[in-house]
Amino acid sequence: MARKILIVDDEPNIVISLEFLMKKEGFVVAVAGDGDAALEQAAAFRPDLVLLDVMMPKKSGYEVCEQLRGDPSQGDLKIVMLTAKGRESEVAKGIAIGADAYVTKPFSTKELVARVRTLLGMA
Amino acid sequence: MNHSRLTAQRLAALFLLGCALFNYPLLALFNRAAEIFGIPLLYAFLFGSWLVLILLMALAIERRED
């Protein structure tokens, strides 16, 4: 069974690139443009992993991450935070609220894919 | 500054000299019925030492060290 990945970012071009990348790797992909949509999709789509942008309107990636972690039904969900703000403190914050990985923009596509595979136990 | 202090010390010394000159016992030395150059000794001594004292005071205070 193909693994499912939810891509959350408010930058359309980044969404396009990630979607293309993940589909090419054989994942089933869904996208969301903001935090609220991300939570809806997470419930409906039941992804195995979320690529989650931090800086978004309406609801930030941190809030989304916290809410997902607070949901027992999403216990196996892996969360990868994406951020353009590469500060140490933000990385720490992301890990502290339960993110499995933290990737700084701009990222290397190869590394991102490798990271996702590792987290899903596919490597 | 230094000069002014020196002046002050000289004047103080002259004051002490004057106190000594114009009082017992120096006074008693000259309190005799004698004359010098036809002038009574006590009279000559007092006026003489007085004048010298004044001259020294003038010298002390008006002298400018160059």
């Binding site: 408010d10 930058e11 071009n13 980044i14 396009i16 690139s17 990630l18 293309f20 990348l21 090419k24 800086m55 978004m56 309107p57 309406k58 353009a84 703000k85 590469g86 500060r87 923009k105 701009p106 990222f107 290397s108 596509t109 190869k110 | 002046t7 002050a8 004047l11 103080a12 002259l14 004051f15 004057g18 106190c19 114009f22 009082n23 017992y24 006074l27 008693a28 309190n31 005799r32 019925a33 004359e35 150059f37 036809g38 002038i39 009574p40 000794l41 006590l42 009279y43 007092l46 006026f47 007085w50 004048l51 004292l53 004044i54 001259l55 005071m57 003038a58 205070i61 008006e62």
Partner: protein, 911 residues
Amino acid sequence: MLQQGWVIVLVSFAYLGVLFAIAYQADRRADSGRSLIAHPTVYALSLAVYCTTWTFYGSVGRAAATGIGFLPIYLGPTLMLALGWFVLHKIVRVAKANRITSIADFVASRYGKSQLLGGLVTVIAVVGVVPYIALQLKAVSSSFAILTGYPEIVMPARAGAAPLLQDSALYVAIILAAFTILFGTRHLDATERHEGMVAAIAFESVVKLVAFFAVGLYVTYGIYDGFGDIFDRAQEVPKLAKLMVTADTAASYGSWAALTFLSMLSVLLLPRQFQIAVVENVNEAHVRRAVWLFPLYLFLINIFVLPIAIGGLLHFQGGGVDADTFVLTLPMAHQQEALTLLVFIGGLSAATGMVIVETIALSTMVCNDLVMPVLLRWRALRLHERQDLSGLLLEIRRWAIAVILMLGYLYFRLAGEAYALVSIGLISFAAVAQFAPAVIGGLYWKGGTREGALAGLLGGFLVWCYTLLLPSFAKSGWLPEQFMTQGLFGVELLRPQQLFGLTGLDEISHCLFWSLFVNLAAYLGVSLLRAPDAREARQASLFVDAPRQRGELAGWRGGVRVADLLPMAGRFLGPERAREAFERHARSRGFAGLDALPADAELVHFAESLLAGAIGSASARVMVASVVQEEPLGLDEVMNILDEASQIRAYSREVEQKSRELERATAELREANERLRELDRMKDDFISTVTHELRTPLTSIRAFSEMLHEDPKIELAERSRFLGIIVGETERLSRLINQILDLAKLESGRAEWTSTEVDLAEVVRESAASMTQVFRDKGVTLDLDLPPGAVVVLADRDRLVQVVINLLSNAVKFAPAGRGRVAAAVAVDRGLAQVTVADNGPGIHASEHERIFEKFRQGGQDVLTDKPQGTGLGLPISRQIVEYFGGRLWVESEAGKGARFKFTLPLQDTR
């Protein structure tokens, strides 16, 4: 000729006229700034006011009785002048710094500006000096009487024997009073200085020296054949030979030393000496010459004393002629009419000099330290409400002069005959010697207190009264004889001139010993009972540390206005003089005038010292305090002000004030610190935001590039779409970088501007045209409302286009897609060109109206709901541009009702 009384009177008045002319001239010169007396020699000569008729007539009398015994009175001052560099110099400096106007003022000021102390010193000075004034009256009147007998030598009748209205001494007193009033109280000077008087006194010193020298030369070389001849003749007369030596006893040397010491103090402490040497001193440096010139003067005026005395004794053998009159009677006996007249003038000059300066000094003290303090406390007089008190002050002084001279005359009638001239003078010397502990001690010892000074002065004065003044009445028969011989209430131990059985001293030494013993013991003993309080300590340090701290301010606190101080000073000095003084003060501190003068501690101090000149330092303190504390002046208030408690109150007020200021400063500091931290945070945020904004397009670019690079099998359509995104993101990145650089340039002021005449309507039209496609894409309508003609402003055209495009793109960004409406308008209003860009978007909450002009605020959390495509730098940049050209950019909006961005620019006048 001389036997005609009127000739003598005429000559006397002529002489007084000359004196007055000199004084008048000197005053005029002083007013025009070319002081006649600003010369060290004049200062030294004026000090010779020390030599009165006592010297002129009395020394010869003393010499005839005791030989060399007249000399200590002049040796003492010589010694004091040797110390002048320390003592006199210091007193002058202290007095100048504190605007001291008399010796009473000096003592009062030193011990915490005590009115009581000033009053006591005044009383002692007046009582003590009255005999001395009597001496002058006696000398002048008897010399006049003798002169009218010319060429017969007839000793005048006993003092007080003549009926009152035929007593020449009375007329002498009246004339001298009138003359002194004319001389010394024509106007009021804050410094209490009388340049005219000083000039006249210096002149008199020359006159009396010349006159005495003339007699001396005449007697020594005219009548006899030089010094040697006189002394040889004296040796032949056993009685005279004794004069060449003094008694070789301890008592004799003791009284010699006592007189030397007494005169040492007197040359400094006699009110007139203090007046001339300290108050009238125009320049500290003048002391330098006086140190030797004044003793030299004393030396010269004494050279011929003994020859004249011996000459007189030889000539008038068998007595009948008072030795005190030899100076006058010797030339008379040889029918030297002109010389006789010169001598009379010399004696008159010695008397007038003394009387003028002494009574002026005393009247100042009586007025400032005795009468004014009482009047000011006397509520019923309502003096504190009087506008100009200077007239009253002069009036008081005139009366004081008259009363003092009348007291002198009274003493002359009562006790004048019992004593020789010198003995009367010594009574006064002993009185003023009582000031020594308080003055000299106060100058070098900080421990003295008000009570100590009071106790010392009072004790010494009472002893003086008992051992010297009362006996002088007793000897004249005005007190019972038993008082002298059997003591008070018949108690032997209390015999006034053998007090507690002390015998073997002459009456002066006896009095000097007991009075100074009691005085010093009380001064030290009482002073040591307690430590000086704050005010005493402050004054003590002003006096004792004088050479070290010049111009140090006595601390004053409390609110005060120039407008309060000036009228108050005007009441005492006269409005004109006060105003001039204040203006001088303002200029000396580098202010343009009165208006610029701050009402600070220095001004208060100045006003106080200015007033001190008119009414004494103690009264001045009370007056200034009444204004400074803004309280009506009354006894209670005055007592309050003088009370130590008020100082503490003022002090605690000051502390309170200071702590409030400190709190304020702390708050300001905290705020500034907060602001700094905020700025720091903003800078951090800015960098973080810039980083984010730059990384976002970079992320897309890198992702697509890598994918295209690694997977050559991507379809052509995909490939070209991805490349399009890369190009777009690259453009976005460039734009962002350009704007950041643009803003940096604007902010640092390094931007390049061109300023030309620009038609604002044209700018808006052109900007709108370039945006047509954007509007069309989003389905937003754009309405333009432009005036028909040109709206010309002076600006950089491209920059204005940048602003308008920025506003239009913001508007289209926030206008709802499909039904959005944007309106751009140009209008002219009151010399300003105004551009408005309005949209029907979500609007901006009032709290955000300013924040949207901050950098990257668009990225902020609450400002915008949709993430716009802008960089967040457009509005800050636009505002910078508009403001550069002298305009203003702002927004008017309410949430939900759209936004209207407006900017104005000054209209360029094209005509």
